[in-house]
Symmetry: C2
Subunit: 143 residues, 2 copies
């Protein structure tokens, strides 16, 4: 997602389509805290296990709900490699992901300074990009 963070904002104005604010419940706060605390791109299940330390009664479904809410409100990005379980990333800067086949670790990959995606891609005429996903797979040669 391109950054458009929104946490608690002004009260609803009554205008129909206004995106609603995210209510920060105990569960959502804990899920978000867990994501910030250890930025290793955990799966929903990983998050579930970590959140249980603070909220032993939380259910996996709630973790999914919370992650969805956080993603929807652009506090967190969902990262998908092929059809593996989704992973979650609190880094909101535009960046890609490098999956190391040897270790399984996913590294954030930034653009070189000054580079914009639209500068390097031949986009369809009139294309308005709402979402960018760049996923790399490979290995870290030790040489």
């Amino acid at each position: 997602m391109l950054a458009k963070p929104s946490i608690k904002r002004s009260a609803n104005t009554g205008i129909a389509d206004e995106p609603s604010e995210l209510r920060m419940t105990r569960q959502r706060r804990e899920v978000y805290r867990v994501l910030l605390a250890q930025r290793d791109h955990p799966t929903a299940y990983d998050v579930f296990m970590r959140v249980k330390d603070g909220l032993p009664h939380i259910s996996l479904a709630t973790v999914y709900n919370c992650l969805e809410a956080l993603v929807e409100h652009d506090l967190v990005r969902q990262v998908n490699f092929d059809r593996e379980p989704s992973r979650y990333c609190p880094n909101l800067e535009e960046h890609g992901h490098f999956h190391d086949r040897d270790t399984g670790v996913i590294h954030d990959v930034k653009f070189k300074p000054g580079i914009k995606l639209a500068d390097v891609l031949d986009l369809p005429h009139g294309a308005v990009i709402q979402d960018v996903e760049i996923n790399l797979r490979g290995q870290l040669s030790l040489a």
Copy 2:
């Protein structure tokens, strides 16, 4: 996948790790033909429906097997948007995909001439890229 096409090649030399050639069965040929005939990034199920015209008794599992074999041998690329059903693309040039939210159509997106991914990304030191996936979502403004 980075291009490394291999269809029928020379007979096996006896060397252990040589990647084996792809045996072109009726089913695989038909699946491949269908992908080349209509390059609209069909799902496995779409392919299944199309292949049935020529091979009415083919099973969905076989279509999955064939697609996997074709992907494995770099004749076809698998395209994943989030966790939606995988789509299949016979375009082997390095390119990305733009998913139009309004129509659902997926467009191929080429790099501007002369641009290499490594030129624009800050890769981890020593990273060897085996596979690149660039997925965009947005709309085609009619203006």
